[in-house]
Subunit: 115 residues, 2 copies
DNA sequence: ATGCGTTATGTATTTAAAAGAATAACGCAA
DNA sequence: TTGCGTTATTCTTTTAAATACATAACGCAT
């Protein structure tokens, strides 16, 4: 390709669709992990520096599209309420990262045969 | 992951960076192919339904970042001017599509092991 | 019963990206 | 030398997405 012989790299993004609509991607997995960490959608949204509203919608879409919700929520109570991951949510994170690793490895190989 | 057993799929996008900046992606390759087809950035932009301005900037960025320009332009003359691909541009398209095929094949395999 | 911090949700505001409009320069052809 | 269709570029307008703001409901604890 006659590129400047500098830092050439292949970048990629991938995500999982169900019925043509996005179920899971990098941002959503990060959101799930922060919900696990904080036990709260609000705190997760703050750490991700996005509005609570957007985070809440994200979670809603995931839960609606998955066969079984990834996030379990509860309102009121001692700490005002909160959210936690379901087994299905944990499973989704693991499968996403496993796939991510395989893709990363493959893409690294491809760079050699691309230069 | 316990997904609704409907239409589950893995989607992806990839692109080539040089020194951390985008050189080539799906849209840019399509642009190159339409410039080849029409011999004109203006007509290519119209078929892609994007503004001439954006198309022109796209081409400029590619040409600036590649070691050797992908698109050759000329102003004035019988037909007002035009643009054509260089050998390097043609080569870039081919390499992109070759890589795309390999990634497509790999991702298809992964879906089986993901469900 | 009051306060607290969260979920839940509608509406308004801001912001960033893209498009659109306008204009100049170019060089051939009639 | 006038017209044509393109490249080239600036400035304005539109559009879409995200954010901000506001408010209610919830349920435990004091």
């Amino acid at each position: 390709m006659s590129l400047k012989s500098k830092d050439l790299s292949i970048k990629f993004r991938f995500w999982i669709n169900v019925d043509g609509e996005k179920l899971l991607g990098k941002g959503r997995v990060e959101m799930l992990e922060l919900i696990r960490k904080h036990g709260s959608i609000l705190k997760a949204s703050q750490e991700m520096k996005m509005s609570y509203r957007q985070a809440w919608q994200m979670v809603k879409e995931m839960n609606d599209r998955a066969e079984s919700p990834f996030v379990e929520k509860y309102m009121g109570g001692k700490n005002g309420g909160g959210a936690r991951l379901t087994i299905e949510g944990e499973d989704a994170i693991k499968k996403y990262h496993d796939l991510e690793k395989r893709i990363n490895y493959f893409i690294d190989e491809q760079l050699e045969s691309f230069k």
